[in-house]
Assembly symmetry: C2
Homo-oligomer: 162 residues x 2
């Protein structure tokens, strides 16, 4: 009988997961780099002004995007440029690049279900697959949207303002 074992507590240690604003900021950054590439040197200060965050936050993101081969950052003289065709950069690439969520998992699973409980020791096995299925659906949708679309729509909005 596990009933008595269940009625008790324990210490825990969990990992958080969230889709942070790094994701939308990174997209914003790429849209800026492309939009202003011919007219300005797109520095971290310039981007910080458009996004409205501290330049260091931008530089950290630029490093992550560079690490993923999405952009190049020019040391010394400054500025960032896009490293490959916009049509080949998907939302998923960016999502992965900026490490939007902890260790690639969207859901925050409670860490220590009680192994003495039949449900507690099996729930992980059951749920992991389902959670994966949900996350995959999300990632597939992300993969279907390119930065090219984003930039084109942004430019069309800007056109309409004139």
């Amino acid at each position: 009988m596990f009933h008595d074992a269940l009625v008790s507590f324990a210490e825990r240690r969990e990992i958080y997961m969230q889709i942070s604003s790094r994701f939308t900021i990174a997209i914003h950054i790429l849209a800026c780099i492309d939009t202003f590439k011919d007219d300005y040197k797109v520095t971290s200060d310039f981007l910080a002004g458009s996004v409205n965050v501290n330049p260091v936050v931008i530089r950290r993101l630029l490093q992550q995007l560079k690490g993923a081969g999405i952009i190049n950052v020019i040391r010394g003289s400054g500025g960032a440029v896009i490293a490959k065709p916009l049509s080949e950069i998907t939302m998923l690439d960016i999502y992965n690049a900026v490490d939007s969520i902890e260790n690639g998992e969207l859901f925050h699973f409670h860490e220590n279900p009680n192994k003495e409980c039949p449900v507690g020791r099996n729930i992980h096995n059951v749920l992991d697959h389902k959670l994966d299925q949900i996350q995959t659906a999300m990632e597939n949708e992300m993969r279907s949207i390119t930065i090219q679309e984003i930039v084109e729509e942004t430019k069309s909005y800007i056109q309409k303002e004139l």
Copy 2:
């Protein structure tokens, strides 16, 4: 020219979003209630033992699930029971019930893009639709999975142990 305006900072106020462990805990709770309904009175202490969290955390979740019409909680004598057929409870129902993410939005959008920048003042319009599209894909997948499946698979895992 907006260049000068861009190279500057500003204060901000943001809202966090994450898929908290409340979601997986709530599923765990429902699996327990159903699995043990004939053999035990499923109290918050009992559930706390299986999930391995403080009973108050469980009670808070029970209230949220009750608010969504998913379970009933018995005051006084204690215990929780499921309020409708398991096949009619989807992962999405639970996700919504436990308020897994802030104000229904999965993505944390940076709050104050600079309105003086053509990209800054349009990025929200462009992205909102795309982010919605991604979130919808995720929610559709959630809607396709019922608690019945979860419970059945859990029971089948438990069977295999014997």
